[in-house]
Amino acid sequence: MIDWIVKCLKESSADAWEITDRKITGWEFYFIGHRLDQNRARDVENIGVKVYRKFDSFLGSAGTDIPVTASKEEVKEKIELLLEEAVLVRNPVYELNFPKNTETEKNTLPDLGTIAKDYIEVMKSIDETEGEYINSCELFAESHKVRYMNSNGIDVTSCYPSSLAEVVVNARNEAHEIELYRMYKSGTCDREYLKREIEETMRFGKDRLHTEKTPNLGSFDVVFSTDASLQLYEFFISRMSTNMIYRQFSDWQIGKPVAEFSGKDRLTIMARKSLPNSSKNCAFDAEGAPVRDLVVIEDGVARNYTGPRQYGQYLGLEDTFIPGNFEVKGGSESEEDLRKGSFIEVVEFSDFQTDEITGNIAGEIRLAYLHENGTVRAVSGGSVSGTMFDFAKTMRFSNTQKQYDNRIVPAVTRLCGVTVTGA
C-alpha cells in the first residue's frame, strides 16, 4: 500500500508530500473489581497523507487518511482530490524537513503479553481493605510502529510501547462511599510505581470520607503535589510553542524573562529526547524531525521555541521540532519548606484546567488538606481560580521531581494568592 501511495505521489503534480504510517497492535483488559469484564485485541493501521502545491508565492496543502483497505484506484482518486484542494488555502511558503544524520534506532516491537501480564499482576497485588478497594480498572498495552516519509527523502521508522491503566479506587464507611479516578500512562508497566501510586490513592480515598466543607478562603496559597501540577507547567511549555508565538497568542521573546519572577527560583524547562519509560519516546516528531534535548526556558528566560516547523520557519527558525517529552527542573526549596505556614494542598480535583491563551486556572476541589493555625483538616467542595500570569511571578517549586509519563516536573508546587471559593 505504502509503495503504491509513494508511486502515485511521485507521479502527481504535488510539489511536496508526506506520509505517516502508524501501525498499532494492542491488548486490552477491562475489569469490574478483579473480575474480567471483557478482553479485546486491536490490529490497525492508519495512513496519513498530505500534499503541498506552490502557487503565486504561496504554499497550499491538504491532508487525508487513506484507509489501508483502499483500492489502488481509490488511492489515486484521493490524491487527485487532495491536489485540487491544496490550492484552496494560501499559506506563506515553508519547506518540509530534510534528512539528517541521526542515530540508528533499534526497531524492536514490544511484547504485549508481557506488558499486559505485568499490569494484571500489579492490580492483583494491591493491598485492599474492607474500606478501600479497587472498583474497576482498564488496562491497555500497545505496540506502535511509526514510519514517516516525505518528498525531501526522509524515511524513518520508530517502534515503541505505550500503555495505560485507568483505575477507579473506592472508599466507603457506614455513611457513604466515594471514588477516586486515576489514569497512569507510560511506555511499559512500571510495577513498583503503579502499586505505590494506587496505594497512595487509597489513602486519599480514606481521608475523603471524613472531609469538612472547604471554607471560603479568599486569596490563599495552594500547594499542588499530584498530576494537576502538569497543567501549571503546560502553560509555560505551550506559550513557548512556535504555533502560539507566530499566531501572537504568546508574546514571550527569546532572551527575555517569561514572567517577573520575584521568588527564590526561576523556571528551567528542557525538551527531552527521551525519558525513562515514557510513552512518547519516538525518535522523530510528527514532521520527521529528529527530537533532541533542548533548553526551552532557562532560569526564567525564554531560550528556544519548539513546535511545528511551519510556524518555526515563519519565525525565521530552521531547526524547530515538536518534543514528545519535557522536564521542568526542581528549585532550591525542600517539600517541607513549601508546606510551611497556612496553605491548602489539593490532591484531588474534578478536572483541573489551565487555559494556555488566557492563563486562567480553574478546578473543583474533591479532596484537599487545609493547613491553618497549626492544624490540618481534610476538606472538599468549592474551587480554585485565578490566572497564571499572576501566579507565575511568585510560584515556588520543590527541589524534588516527579515523573508523569512524558513529563518530569517538580514534585511540589506552591502558588500564592489563589482565589479559593468555599463549598
Binding site: L36, R40, D43, E45, P67, G113, D251, D351, T358, G382
Partner: protein, 474 residues
C-alpha cells in the same frame, strides 16, 4: 438528498456474513460492526489555513464481538486477509485467554445477547453531502468571516473559523441481523481572539446538527455577538465567590444536563457501582420543573442515529420526569447484567474502541416562563452564558461547570457588570431542586466531543431552555 450508504461496506458484507458463520462454529454469539466514515474539515485563521478530507471521527474498520463461557471478547481490525482472518481472530483471543488463565483471572459471567431478527436500511436526508460540498466556496466564506472579524471587530487580533462535515456509514451484522445506516452531521465554530493591554481572551459560538455543509451559512450570523462577548470577557471582573440566584442560558442548561444527570445515569456505571443514581430510581432529584430526555431520537443533532454500535434501535428516554429520576440509559451488555433493556446508547469512540453506555442528545424540557420574568425575579444573581467545560462525579454527585461569563442582576435588572470566568460547583440534587423557573424556548448544541473519564471521545449534544436556579459561583 439521501446520505448514500457506503459501497465499500456493501462490498464486504458477504465476506463478513461468512466470517460470522465461520466464527459461530467456535463461539455462542458473534457480531460484526463495520464502519466507513468520510468527511472534510476546513480551518481558517489569519495566520494559517488548512483543508483536510478527514475529521476527528473519519475511519474505516471493523470489530468482531464473540461470546463464550460467559465472557465477551472483541477483535478490531482494518486490514485483513479473507482466508486467514477467522483463524487470526481465534488465535489472538486464545492467547489472551491463556494469559488470563496463567494469572488466575476470574471472569465476570454475563448472559448471552439475544439475536432477534432485525433488518434496517436507513439513509437519512441531508441537503448537501460532504462529498459534494464546494470546498472552494467554503474556504472563501470562512476566510471572509475571519477577515471581517479582524477588520471590524473591536480589539480582535485573530479569528479562527472552523467547519467539518462527517458522513457516517455503519453496518451491524449477526447471524440474524443486517442493519445498515448512513447519515451526515456537521459542526462549525467561530472563535474571535481579542487583546488589550497584553491580555488575551476569546469567545466561541458554534453551529451543529444532523445536517450537511449547508449549516455553515449560519456561521457569519454568529460573528457580531461573539466578538461582543469576547470583549465583555476581556473587560470582565472577577466574581465575588458565593451562592447566587442564577439564570442559565440554553448552552449552560445543556452543560448542566450533560454533567448532572447525563453521566450520572449511564448504566454501565450502575454495573460497577460507580453511580449514586442507581439508589435514586423513582426518587426525587429535582424540582417539578425538571424533566430531562436523553436519546438519539430526542433531537436531530450530531448524535442522532437509527441504531447504536451494538445493533440496538435508537430511543427517546425520559430520565427525569417532573423531578423524579425514572431510569438511566443502557448499553446491551450492561442491560443483560442489570436485567433491563438496552436503550440504544451503546457507543464507541471508533471501531477499534470498546462500547460504553454513552449519551447522545441530552435535553431539559421547556417550561412556561419568559427570560424577562426570570430576570425580574432575581434579587442578586447572574445570568450565566457560554460554556467552557464541565466534569461529572456520578458517585458523589458533585458538579463542576466552567462558564464563560456571568451578567450581574440586581433587584430584577441587569446591571451591565460582567464577571468571567465563572466556576460553578455544587451538589447535583441541590442544584436541580432549586430550579424554580423554566423558559419556553429550547436550543440544543452539538459542538465538540464528550469523554468518559478522560478518554473515549464521542459526539453528543445537549441543551434546553433558560432555567432559574441557585448555585455556588467562584
Amino acid at each position: 438528498m439521501k446520505a448514500k450508504f457506503s459501497e465499500y461496506l456493501n462490498g464486504i458484507a458477504p465476506f463478513m456474513k461468512k466470517l460470522i458463520s465461520d466464527l459461530s462454529g467456535h463461539y455462542d454469539y458473534v457480531s460484526v460492526l463495520c464502519t466507513d466514515t468520510t468527511g472534510f474539515s476546513v480551518s481558517i485563521s489569519q495566520k494559517s489555513k488548512a483543508v483536510g478530507n478527514s475529521t476527528m471521527f473519519t475511519e474505516r474498520g471493523n470489530v468482531v464481538r464473540v461470546y463464550k463461557d460467559g465472557l465477551y471478547s472483541e477483535y478490531a481490525f482494518d486490514h485483513f486477509a479473507e482466508d486467514t482472518l477467522c483463524e487470526t481472530i481465534r488465535e489472538t483471543l486464545d492467547r489472551q485467554l491463556r494469559l488470563l488463565k496463567a494469572t488466575g483471572t476470574e471472569v465476570y459471567h454475563t448472559g448471552k445477547l439475544s439475536d432477534e431478527p432485525c433488518t434496517v436500511f436507513a439513509e437519512m436526508e441531508t441537503e448537501i453531502l460532504p462529498e459534494n460540498a464546494d470546498l472552494s466556496a467554503l474556504v472563501d466564506e470562512l476566510s471572509s468571516i475571519s477577515d471581517e472579524a479582524v477588520k471590524t471587530g473591536e480589539n480582535v487580533v485573530e479569528c479562527m473559523v472552523r467547519g467539518s462535515s462527517t458522513h457516517v456509514s455503519k453496518m451491524f451484522l449477526t447471524a440474524n441481523r443486517d442493519m445498515r445506516q448512513s447519515y451526515v452531521y456537521s459542526e462549525g465554530m467561530v472563535i474571535p481572539i481579542v487583546m488589550k493591554d497584553g491580555k488575551n481572551e476569546l469567545s466561541t459560538a458554534g453551529v451543529s446538527g444532523r445536517k450537511g455543509p449547508e449549516i455553515f451559512r449560519e456561521l457569519r450570523n454568529r460573528l457580531k455577538d461573539t466578538v461582543k462577548t469576547a470583549n465583555e470577557v476581556l473587560n470582565a471582573d472577577a466574581i465575588e465567590p458565593g451562592e447566587y440566584e442564577i439564570i442559565t442560558s440554553p448552552e449552560v442548561t445543556g452543560l448542566i444536563a450533560h454533567e448532572a444527570f447525563g453521566h450520572g445515569v449511564e448504566m454501565d456505571m450502575f454495573v460497577k457501582n460507580r453511580a449514586l443514581g442507581a439508589e435514586y430510581i423513582n426518587k426525587r432529584v429535582g424540582s417539578d420543573l425538571v424533566t430531562m430526555h436523553e436519546g438519539a431520537l430526542c433531537a436531530e443533532e450530531v448524535s442522532s442515529y437509527a441504531f447504536d454500535d451494538e445493533g440496538n434501535p435508537a430511543s427517546d428516554t425520559v430520565e427525569i420526569d417532573h423531578g423524579i429520576l425514572r431510569t438511566g440509559i443502557c448499553d446491551a451488555l450492561s442491560a443483560l447484567r442489570l436485567g433491563t433493556k438496552p436503550t440504544g446508547n451503546g457507543k464507541r469512540q471508533a471501531f477499534d474502541h470498546k462500547v460504553y453506555t454513552r449519551m447522545t442528545n441530552t435535553v431539559f424540557e421547556t417550561g412556561t416562563d419568559s427570560v424577562e420574568d426570570m430576570i425580574a425575579s432575581v434579587k442578586h444573581g447572574y445570568l450565566l452564558a457560554g460554556m467552557k467545560s464541565g466534569m461529572e462525579d456520578p458517585k458523589h454527585w458533585g458538579i463542576q461547570c466552567i462558564i464563560e461569563r456571568g451578567y450581574e442582576i440586581k433587584e430584577g435588572k441587569l446591571t451591565g457588570k460582567v464577571c468571567a470566568p465563572i466556576v460553578m460547583t455544587g451538589y447535583v440534587p441541590d442544584l436541580l431542586n432549586s430550579v424554580s423557573m423554566a423558559g419556553t424556548d429550547s436550543r440544543v448544541f452539538g459542538n465538540g466531543a464528550c469523554g468518559k473519564g478522560h478518554k473515549e471521545w464521542v459526539k453528543v449534544s445537549d441543551g434546553g431552555p433558560y432555567l432559574k436556579a441557585k448555585a455556588r459561583l467562584g
